[in-house]
């Protein structure tokens, strides 16, 4: 069980689109930090634990499964807003290490942005099982960049890293105070990550006469304990959230809270932005971005050039979309405390430099379309968890990504068109994902709620989702089997939609030699010692299709048994993806992405052999998917087919056995061999 996501704080909230801590980077950085700390010998000892720490450390957690690495004993954040709009955050956190792996959870994190906030004080303690106390002061606190992939980012964090000192049974905790000014009057709070938590609370202290409202996600409504303008939301004894294959993201499982505060009528103007309706969020984002979507003459000329041969509205949008997809993804995040994370760079700048982040690319496309007379709108979306955004909390902080909605006429047909009550038909497109063309949408964005940024006409809309057949793979295999077990095979794969995206990603990400090696590894997994003579990929990105022709020979594909029997599997090449559900019990639903797959295998059988045994055909029809195999021998040739259709669905735990059974039967069916006997 690995859990790195600690609660979102100001830096996360204002960082806007395309941001977030890269877990891999964070892990690497913490390892670096641990090394760096080795050279620092100034840690001091002494039994000066604060009472709140000592009190939390005495808590007796429930008995958890043996693989639960750590338990959070206290997780408390207090946010104080003064009448000037200054926000002071106090955080206290105490956890106990339960296993060796739990040591890596012994770290503290306080995020901030350099332009509008600071961490005033941070301290940590480690209480060892021996009762010895180690204190972490400023000489042991690291200051790190939150995202190493960005060319620049103002978001940073103070970190206390205690993993190397924390043994099993140790209690680690920290507290910090930070100050900031925010463009928002909204906060969110995750009551837990994957670790169990004994006490988790969010406290808000507001000036007299101000009020707060909250929304609860992934849990029954949590009512605040209110005392005047002071509010406390609390949960206790939260069970661990264990990872499971094809499970919903932890962000859709762990209880979360969103809090908005509303100043008194006579409050000063410097207070951040409040949102009560989605149209207000839309208006705010629109005002930040609209003036950036301007095209200069060079851009107008480029538009003319790009669309010179485009005959239809869709063709024009595709031409512009392809161009913007070709703009390099580069993230430079400044002015975060002033809404910079939501404001794209000027389209002219992005056009000239030919780089930008998601909002820059969407905004550039908007400017280019505008030059063509096609209206379009930025779309705020959450990338990575289609169930993350909830309608009941109007807030820009629910989003981490920006795409585009293009207004289209009735003549344009595509699977990714939604209808807005006022704006009409909108074609949704993600210009940051350069593997998904116009007319398709990345699967992790499909069916999620996203905000059309259109001033007061803006609204939260459900994004389109494509049917399984749109994300299909069709494979044809023609092979000749020799009496000695040798195989000469031609494989032709054609993919579309998100299935093609997977192929395209591999094809583009890898250099040509590495791509060839990947194909060889895939083929030799099914046919040991295969010699691949042809690999011919053909990427038709414009139509969202990908084709791959592979030819190979394998000297001993079928096993010859004492010269009498010839045994081989008709599933000559493996499917690219499989889901294995082996656990007996399931705690969370199973998430299935829509996709479809068909394969036809034609094997010319060797002369002098007859089919002695052939597997039974399989046919399964379930609400979440269908699977079928068939076998036929005609004129010395074996015809084998298999087809799979999986519907995008969330399967409840009560149906886990059905979905597990479905996949286990597929696995068994695809292992079944055919036996030929010499005449």
């Amino acid at each position: 069980m690995k859990a790195f996501r600690r609660h979102r704080t100001f830096a996360d909230r204002v960082s806007g689109f395309g941001k977030g801590i890269s877990a891999a980077f964070f892990t690497r950085l913490l390892a670096l930090c641990a090394l760096t700390l080795l050279i620092n010998t100034s840690a001091f000892a002494g039994d000066d634990l604060p009472d709140w720490f000592r009190q939390a450390a005495k808590s007796t957690p429930s008995v958890y499964a043996k693989d639960v690495p750590a338990v959070v004993l206290l997780n408390e954040r207090t946010v104080k807003v003064d009448e000037e709009g200054k926000i002071t955050t106090y955080e206290r956190y105490v956890m106990r290490v339960l296993t060796m792996e739990g040591r890596r959870e012994a770290h503290g994190l306080a995020t901030y942005t350099t332009d509008s906030g600071k961490v005033k004080e941070m301290r940590g303690w480690l209480l060892r099982p021996s009762e010895e106390v180690k204190k972490y002061g400023k000489d042991q606190i690291l200051d790190i960049a939150l995202d190493s992939n960005d060319v620049f980012n103002e978001a940073r964090a103070r970190v206390i890293e205690a993993r190397d000192e924390a043994e099993v049974g140790a209690v680690f905790g920290y507290e910090y105070t930070s100050e900031e000014r925010s463009v928002f009057t909204q906060f969110d709070w995750d009551f837990q990550d994957r670790m169990p938590a004994l006490v988790s609370r969010f406290i808000m202290n507001l000036p007299a006469g101000w009020r707060a409202e909250s929304v609860t996600f992934n849990h029954a409504k949590i009512e605040a304990n209110a005392n005047g303008s002071n509010y406390t939301w609390e949960l206790r004894d939260l069970a661990p959230i264990e990872p499971e294959p094809a499970s919903p993201r932890v962000t859709s499982l762990a209880p979360r809270l969103a809090v908005s505060y509303f100043p008194a009528a006579n409050a000063k103007a410097a207070i951040g932005k409040s949102f009560e309706k989605w149209s207000e969020v839309s208006r705010w984002l629109f005002e930040l971005s609209d003036s950036q979507a301007v095209a200069d003459n060079a851009m107008i000329a480029k538009v003319r050039d790009l669309t010179a041969n485009a005959k239809t509205e869709l063709a024009k949008i595709q031409a512009i979309g392809r161009f913007v997809q070709g703009v390099n993804y580069v993230s430079i995040q400044t002015g975060l405390g002033r809404g910079g994370g939501y404001r794209p760079h000027s389209a002219i700048d992005v056009f000239n430099k030919s780089y930008g982040d998601c909002k820059d690319k969407a905004n550039l496309m908007r400017a280019l379309l505008k030059a063509l007379g096609i209206p379009s709108y930025l779309v705020s979306i959450y990338s990575g968890d289609p169930t993350y955004v909830r309608e009941e909390w109007p807030s820009p902080q629910q989003f981490n990504h920006c795409i585009i909605a293009v207004k289209v006429s009735d003549e344009t047909k595509a699977a990714t068109i939604v209808t807005h009550p006022q704006l009409g038909r909108l074609l949704i497109f993600d210009p940051t994902d350069d593997n998904t063309p116009v007319g398709d949408l990345p699967d992790h964005e499909q069916n999620s709620l996203a905000l059309i940024v259109a001033a007061d006409a803006g609204a939260l809309l459900r994004m389109p989702s494509t049917p399984p057949e749109a994300n299909r793979m069709e494979r044809q295999v023609e092979a000749i089997l020799g009496a000695d077990g040798s195989l000469n095979a031609k494989v032709l794969e054609r993919t579309a939609g998100q299935a093609a995206v997977n192929e395209r990603q591999a094809f583009r990400r890898l250099s040509k030699p590495d791509y060839l090696k990947m194909i060889e590894r895939w083929i030799t997994r099914g046919a040991t010692g295969a010699s691949v003579s042809k690999v011919d990929p053909l990427d038709n990105n414009a139509e969202g299709k990908f084709a791959l022709n592979v030819e190979f020979t394998a000297a001993r594909y079928a096993q010859v048994m004492q010269g009498h029997l010839l045994v081989f599997k008709p599933t000559i090449v493996s499917r690219r993806e499989s889901l294995f559900l082996t656990e007996g019990l399931r705690k969370h639903p199973v998430m299935l992405n829509a996709h479809a797959y068909t394969e036809t295998v034609k094997v010319k059988l060797p002369d002098g052999f007859v089919v002695d045994e052939i597997p039974d055909a399989v046919k399964m029809d379930t609400p979440f998917g269908n699977y079928a195999t068939s076998y036929e021998v005609k004129d010395g040739t074996l015809y084998f087919t298999r087809s799979l259709v999986v519907r995008g669905a969330t399967i409840p735990v009560s149906d886990y056995e059905k979905v597990k059974h479905f996949y286990s039967l597929i696995y068994a069916a695809e292992q079944a061999p055919i036996v030929l006997a010499r005449k």
Binding site: L37, T99, M561
Partner: protein
Amino acid sequence: MFAYRLLIKLAYSIVGVLLLSGLAWAGDDWRPVEPAQLAMKTPVVEKDADAEAIFWEVRVNDSDFDLIFNHYVRIKIFTERGRETQSKIDIPYFGKYHIKDIAGRTIKPDGTIVELKKDAVFERTIVKLSGLKVQAKSFAMPAVEPGAIIEYRWKEVRPQSMADNLQLQFQRDIPVQLVKYYLKPASADLVGDRGMNTMTFHGQNTALVKDKDGFYSMTMTNMPAFREEPLMPPEDQVRTWMLIYYTREAKPVPEKFWGDLGKRYYDIIKDRMKANDEVKKAAATIIGDATTPEEKLKRLFDYCRYKIKNVNDDAAGMTDEQRKKLKENHSPADTLKRGMGNSADIDLLFAALASAAGFEARLALSSYRDSFFFDPGLPLSYFMRPSSIAVHLGDNWKFFNPGTTLIPFGMLRWQEEGVPALVADAKASKFVDTPMAAPDKSLEKREAHLHLSEDGTLEGEVKIVYTGHLGYEKKEYNDDDSPQQREANLREMFQKRMSTAELSNIRIENVTDPDKPFTYAFHLKVPGYAQRTGKRLFLQPGFFQHGIASLFQTSERKYAVYFHYPWMEEDQVLIDLPTGYALDHADRPAPFVIEKVGKHEIYIGISKDGQTLEFKRHFFFGGQDRILFPAASYPTLKQIFDTIHEADNHTLTLKQAAVN
């Protein structure tokens, strides 16, 4: 040397001499871009490259108190992938190093030039702690597209540093048409009678050419991109690189060089290996009634390993902070008295005890095979480090390393086996090859007694034992994990190969014991292991090889294949067959012998009652220390391992007897 350089620097400051650093780039002039470079449609060095450096030049100026590098690289972009990988640049630096004078520009295919603006270069602090910083200068090249050329340059200053033992690289992640280093050596004022030398590894043997302003240059052309391959030798063994170092003698005689180095180490370390009265007394007590030299050494070795707490060992349960607080041991007597020490203390105590017991014991220095394949004909101390204790036994030197936990007596870590070790001596230092453990010393012994059901489920008891280097690696992988995680590691290992495998009653033994073999024992159930058709069951009796892909899956290979050490596998699998089923046309794969290097043999038999199948497999590889195979032999090696893989995947057919 550092203090001397500082003094010189002060002297220069006083007289106000202007130092000639940063000579490389006078003004903002870029080199002219030749039309042919702009018109290039395909790479020159590697035909499938996504981008190619047209040139990569670095001026290394060691003549100043600060070591200064001026970098200049020009890259042609051919594909979208090249655009993505080459247009974002991070130049990391740390400590007192600094980066300045960054400039860059993009020349578009039509010849239009887009300059990198100064405000597009960002200085980032990646991590900061108590005044220590790791920083980076980061920028994205503007308007990059396939067909464009990008070029950028910067100056790197390393204050108060010199280019002694400095590695210079000649390969990048993309191919390079021309790599040129300019080197300006330190003056005699700074290095006295030592002169700058260079040595090139795995590359064109190019001489230094005298250039302008006191620089010498070295050029290499058509350098391919460096890409890692599985099972390849260490990077420094395959990459082209150059070492810069200063010596008094330009071409020292190896014998003398090593003799001098050995003596220096001997002199430095002799007091740390000295046996005083307590140590002598302890040696006598430890040896007790042992009679043979091997037995005596084993007892001394075991004492050092088991009775002296190794503070470097994960199993010692010490935190880094606790380690830092420990007092330093200045002699073997200190280590003996405190009963604890670091790995080096324990090795030196062992040497002192052995000396006290009448053995001739010396410090041995060697290179490590995981970083470089060292040749004593190369008089360079760069690769050598203290590694073990050599003890003269009979006519031979034997090597011991009790300070390295988890490695059994009589073995070294694989990195130190099979390498020339310099036995340090006052008068007669000499190289002795450390032995490489034979295949049977690193054994994976697997046993299973399983029952096959009619529906293809396989279930039963499994035991796997690892010794030698295999055991060491298993222990290293698991010793820092909780028991639950160790079980999870095992489950993952099996489920990768058999997705339906269910493991229970898992016992994992000797994880932190250096001598006893690492052992797994567990109950296993694999639904659907055997495939069933109408009247037959298809069974792969090589249960431990099930689901393992062939070792070599690709047809092309650039670098040699390098196995870290020889090893052996012994399997015995008993499978009780379902009632009513019998073998149908059963046979077994032919044995396969690779003369003296390896052997693969499978035995398949059936019990007299026809109910229990016995599968035995014997395999070893790396005999006669053959663990390195040149790239040219890859097709043969691949064929060998493909054949072994096919044999391991041999399937038996069980047929249901006709019902009367």
